[in-house]
Symmetry: C2
Subunit: 181 residues, 2 copies
């Protein structure tokens, strides 16, 4: 990627939110497209901690893609306040996102399920906004997860809500390998 083409680029802040499917999947699709254009891409996962996903195997095909799963599976959310260790993990994961966003080494950084961490109070939105305010102008950032806070939507360039209209669970069909994971 030449320096000249970076300078002409308008780095977008993209939010995929809503309660339907396709938030992470659309981000992956954008990654696929960006890799094909020769972009350097980092994707950091806040929630999913497993290494069995199809995207991990596919990611290995691309030298210009780093996928870093930092979460520890699905957080167990109780009625009480978030656990300090979950907050610490969320903040550590954001620190990694911030490093990638500000490093000037990546064209696209995906912060997968970060909205989940924000909406559950594991991560202060101010921390995210502070990084985004300092991002290089040509860096694209995608933030996924349901219930993205209003303060994040306010600074975003592109916001899409994925709405569930019909879901196979309603018919009793289990999650399908290769499609949902």
């Amino acid at each position: 990627m030449s320096e000249a083409s970076k300078e002409k680029r308008h780095g977008l802040i993209i939010v995929n939110t809503g309660h339907g499917k396709g938030k992470t999947t659309a981000a992956l699709g954008t990654v696929f497209r960006a890799l094909g254009q020769g972009f350097k891409v980092a994707m950091i996962q806040f929630i999913k901690g497993g290494w069995q996903y199809g995207e991990l195997a596919a990611a290995k095909k691309f030298e210009n893609f780093s996928l870093e799963p930092m979460g520890k599976g699905f957080l167990k959310l109780g009625d009480g306040d978030p656990l300090p260790e979950d907050c610490a993990l969320a903040e550590k994961t954001w620190a990694l996102c911030a490093d990638r966003i500000l490093s000037e080494k990546y064209d696209l950084v995906v912060c997968d399920e970060v909205n989940y961490a924000l909406s559950y109070g594991l991560l202060p939105v101010s921390m995210v906004l502070e990084t985004l305010a300092r991002k290089p102008s040509w860096v694209h950032v995608i933030l996924t997860g349901r219930d993205a806070p209003e303060a994040l939507l306010a600074v975003a360039d592109l916001v899409t809500e994925m709405r569930e209209i019909k879901h196979p669970y309603q018919k009793g069909i289990m999650a399908q390998r290769g499609i949902e994971f």
Copy 2:
């Protein structure tokens, strides 16, 4: 892919619709994941005819992925009835989709922007339903595009509506290479 694992699989009919971004992109993300799981995937494009897209370059990394752009760019839609040549092209493109779906050679077939062809009357929905009724039980099919007809939603297992909440065009930002194409 072993025959046994195919037989256990429940092939889903997935529809990505709505007027927001991310319908094709989410399908691409699913393709990426499916390829990583070793699936054989075919994607047929109804509308976009160009060969400059990032996904085309990325697709070349995968032997188990065939991407077939059949459309001729964006259709010019007037006030009148659809042009016979556009209907013929849409029907020819569906014939290719049907071949891929029924061939038992593909685990996932993406019919990209087919809903667009359906909603503009270029392709009869009955033709699509007839193929889907005969598809092998283990084959997943994704149909994308705005304004998916009710009759298609009725047979789908998973329907997601992508809603546009905020778009960079509203700020006067042009489409960005590597992100939107």
